[in-house]
């Protein structure tokens, strides 16, 4: 049941399930458990990851975490545990400094750091080529655009390192912020060059062009496909809005209608005639099923449980600092996200 590589779809499912509890609440038990799970999975799969240009993400997340904590302590003056105060006359930052605000800042920082860690763990294992292959031909352009956008930051980080090393070899030293000009200017120029190269490469491969003229054989079918696409996108947008305003029943209905309409549109739409060459067929293993199923169960339990019992993942530090509750169902469900760490190993055929 062990595997040396997981399917990209399994990684996406795991990433979505791992991010969900962090986005739904700030319960310290939950945050700590997700962080432990993510660190374990990351360490286990580190040797097999594509780590190019990813190393600076945790560092910058740590910096943002520190800034967030400081900002929260200085601007939020609520809470019952006061450890200091600044003169009230000072605008914005004047007032009591509380442990409540400090703790909330730390929790938010940990959540942010863990989200970044999940993002780079998933992105270092997914293969965009695989994803392009599994998506319906009509959505291929979205997948290609996503892959280009996803690769932007790591490529920029690599370019930054190369330019800095080249400038150092020329004797350039960094003493202040002005000394970054010889790095930033080539970085911008390089970014423009890369974007031009990518656009030319896409153009030369016929990206965005329809391979075959719009079918006139099945006008009704094409019209239904277009309608399905519109209904699907509207459904997803309405679902996102309903989630934002807390209309969860309507959100589930909207997402359901949206996904069904998109699925129907993808089946009804005539193929755009894009020929996809496959030199290696991706295989779906037992380990992929295990990881995807455990992620789906964890996601379902965490999301569903938070609907019935919102306080399961929530933690309030204002106005009184109380001990966070332990929700046994939520933390057991999150434990399922450790499955990717358990299936790594030599390839075995079943």
């Amino acid at each position: 049941m062990t595997t040396a590589a997981l399917d990209s779809r399994s990684w996406l499912a795991w990433g979505l399930a791992a991010m969900t509890p962090l986005l739904l609440g700030r319960n310290p038990w939950v945050l700590l458990e997700v962080l432990i799970v993510v660190v374990a999975v990351r360490l286990v799969w580190l040797a097999r990851a594509n780590r190019q240009g990813m190393g600076w993400f945790p560092r910058i997340a740590t910096v943002f975490m520190a800034i967030g904590v400081l900002f929260n302590v200085l601007t939020v003056h609520a809470g019952d545990r006061v450890f200091g105060s600044l003169p009230e006359a000072w605008p914005i930052i004047g007032g009591e400094l509380t442990w409540n605000a400090l703790l909330y800042g730390v929790l938010s920082g940990v959540a942010l750091f863990t989200l970044v860690l999940i993002g780079i763990t998933v992105s270092s294992h997914i293969s965009w080529i695989e994803l392009v292959h599994v998506l319906p031909p009509r959505l291929a352009t979205i997948a290609v655009t996503g892959s280009v956008a996803w690769a932007f930051l790591p490529q920029t980080a690599v370019a930054w390192r190369h330019i800095r090393e080249a400038q150092t070899m020329r004797g350039h030293t960094f003493r202040g912020i002005r000394d970054f000009i010889p790095i930033v200017v080539p970085l911008l120029a390089g970014g423009l060059e890369r974007s031009l190269a990518v656009s030319e490469a896409l153009e030369s491969r016929g990206f965005g062009a329809s391979g075959a003229p719009r079918s006139t054989d099945h006008p009704i079918r094409s019209a239904f496909a277009d309608l399905g696409l519109i209904v699907g996108l509207v459904g997803l947008a309405a679902g996102a809005y309903c989630v934002a305003v807390g209309m969860l029943k309507w959100a589930v209905a909207s997402f359901g209608v949206g996904f069904l309409a998109l699925y129907a549109a993808s089946r009804l739409a005539p193929s755009p005639g894009i020929a996809i060459t496959r030199y290696r067929t991706a295989t779906w293993r037992v380990a992929d099923t295990l990881v995807t199923a455990s992620a789906a169960v964890a996601f379902g339990i965490v999301a569903g449980w938070s609907l019935f019992r919102p306080e399961a993942l929530a933690f309030w530090v204002y106005p009184e600092l109380l001990a966070p509750r332990v929700d046994i169902i939520a933390i057991l469900a999150i434990g399922l996200l450790l499955v990717p760490a358990l299936v790594v190993g030599e390839e075995r055929r079943w």
């Binding site: 360490l43 309903c242 109380l322 933390i331 190993g345």
Partner: protein, 233 residues
């Protein structure tokens, strides 16, 4: 370079002087208020779970805003500033919503019956009426009673007057007005037992949490050690 340093020095000095002056004016203002006559206002807080807090709040000023009265009542409070729109109340004691939900929707969800903190004023006959202005803009004077209700529907709180609150709290309002104490402290009493009482975090709950986290750490560590052993080289 010198003129820049001088300008920065002058700016810093000006900031310090302005801060000190603002602090001084504020202290004088408070001292002036304390020397005046004593006014008394009442407050009723309905938590929506069969618990109601009644309070008598003495104050030296001629009037307060509704939010100032709530702050001076001494209840644990979480509020959010909305600039010119005033202040919103998110949590009173332990009832309310998180800061994010409060900033986004004043604790309300998409459900039209979802609760939020409603601010009402007492009318002449003791009944409650929704305050046309928010708590930041409403003026509370001697004898007024403010009400805070955690509900998503029209509040149906018991009609009260300042005198009836005084009787419940066993406070003689005339005596309080005529012989004000040195420090103006509010008096609050909560009636009823919360139907949502969840209890404090028990030791068994913490133990379960620690055990589950310990198990997750143990399994994760074993997986990491196993993967290191299997790693090539």
């Amino acid at each position: 370079m010198n003129w820049r340093r001088r300008a920065a020095g002058f700016l810093l000095l000006a900031c310090v002087i302005l801060s000190a002056a603002a602090l001084r004016f504020e202290q004088r203002d408070v001292a002036g208020q304390a020397a005046g006559e004593i006014n008394v206002a009442g407050i009723a807080i309905d938590y929506g779970d069969d618990q109601v807090t009644y309070g008598i709040v003495p104050f030296a000023e001629d009037s307060l805003s509704g939010i100032e009265l709530l702050e001076r009542s001494g209840v644990a409070l979480l509020t959010v500033e909305f600039g010119g729109l005033g202040t919103a109340v998110c949590v009173i004691e332990e009832t309310g919503c998180d800061l994010g939900a409060c900033r986004a929707r004043l604790c309300q969800t998409g459900d039209p019956d979802s609760p939020f903190w409603q601010y009402l004023r007492r009318t002449g006959d003791g009944a409650w009426q929704t305050a046309p202005l928010g708590p930041s803009s409403s003026t509370v004077e001697d004898g007024d009673v403010d009400g805070w209700f955690w509900t998503g529907q029209a509040p149906d709180g018991e009609a009260v007057t300042l005198e009836s609150i005084g009787e419940r709290l066993d406070i003689d309002l005339d005596v309080l007005r005529s012989t004000p104490p040195q420090t103006l402290t509010p008096t609050l009493v909560t009636f009823g037992v919360s139907s949502n009482a969840d209890g404090l975090l028990g030791r068994s709950e913490i133990l379960v949490g620690v055990l589950v986290l310990g198990a997750v750490i143990a399994v994760g560590a074993m997986a990491v050690v196993r993967s290191r052993r299997m790693a090539p080289g």
